[in-house]
Symmetry: C2
Subunit: 189 residues, 2 copies
């Protein structure tokens, strides 16, 4: 999606360790018009896929998932991120390791809001190693529900997450697909 | 706002300690159409107020602030919540005590995205004791910016937060204003 690629080229910052900082428009300060366009693009790609629910994880995925939900007229389930595994009954949980923060988290959704009949479109801000994605896919599997697609606003191809998701038979769609990420040089696929 | 009041009466759950659980439509599972209406209502109230920026705090305020930002065509700055005070330079920080979780957090925004000229409309999901609100107001003050209003989707009047904000000369607007919160009995103002 050219709009997002241009924004990344103009305003994204590449930090050490292959981290792409998009604080100015996607994470910390939200460019509402841009994110609305991301939602519209996701809706165009997945209209008619039969999704009953969009799922994301707090907190950077929320606005993108919400924008997609508006266009597809679907509710959004926000998985919570916890530091501990000490969590009440009535929830599905999955471990997620963050390479960026070098921390182990647990993602959690209430069983009340994810049912066996659900067809889930997962939307997140980044796809990198695929660790967070696998955690979210696991929540859907535990509920006996189906994942109809995984969407990332930004994919960092070099970290290989796409293959892990596709191995599970899930379609991956990213709005900006970064092939090479170096300071001063970002190449898209 | 009758739409939100009805939703609270029909789907909200009152837990011990005066906690109102709105997981099914506002916090965990997002009712996208409802939240879009909240955004439209906020926009009607604050159109022409001169706001340059909407500010909220992760993660439950994000979707409401985003919906308001869409209608008012304003960017949204999402204050981050940290457990520690050990935070890098280049940010404004304020302590916030959560009565619900009995924890001390720090709210943080980058100085890069909050400037002296900004007129800030703060949007959050709840107003209760006003502790979180005061933290966000402090961030605006530190930047030398102005707060043009504080919006809560749901206000729990009994906890007295409104007075603390109004004492600072800031207009408070809540979309559902709860006078009494008891299991089986919720009264609005």
């Amino acid at each position: 999606m050219k709009l997002l690629e241009d924004k990344i080229l103009n305003e994204g910052k590449v930090l050490d360790g292959g981290i792409l900082k998009v604080d100015g428009f996607l994470n910390h300060r939200l460019d509402v018009a841009l994110i609305g366009e991301l939602g519209a693009d996701i809706a165009r790609e997945f209209v008619g896929c039969g999704a009953t629910l969009i799922m994301t994880v707090e907190s950077s995925g929320i606005s993108i998932a919400f924008a997609a939900g508006e266009k597809l007229r679907l509710p959004v389930l926000v998985a919570k991120k916890h530091k501990s595994l000490n969590i009440s009954d009535g929830v599905y949980t999955a471990p997620v390791f963050s390479f960026t923060h070098k921390t182990q988290n647990t993602v959690v959704v209430s069983k009340e809001y994810l049912s066996a009949g659900d067809k889930v479109l997962i939307v997140d801000d980044f796809l990198a190693s695929g660790n967070a994605a696998l955690g979210l896919l696991s929540l859907v599997e535990q509920a006996g529900a189906t994942t109809v697609g995984f969407v990332a606003a930004i994919e960092k191809e070099e970290q290989g997450g796409r293959a892990l998701i596709e191995q599970k038979g899930v379609k991956v769609y990213s709005l900006a697909r970064i092939k090479e990420l170096r300071a001063g040089e970002i190449k898209f696929n």
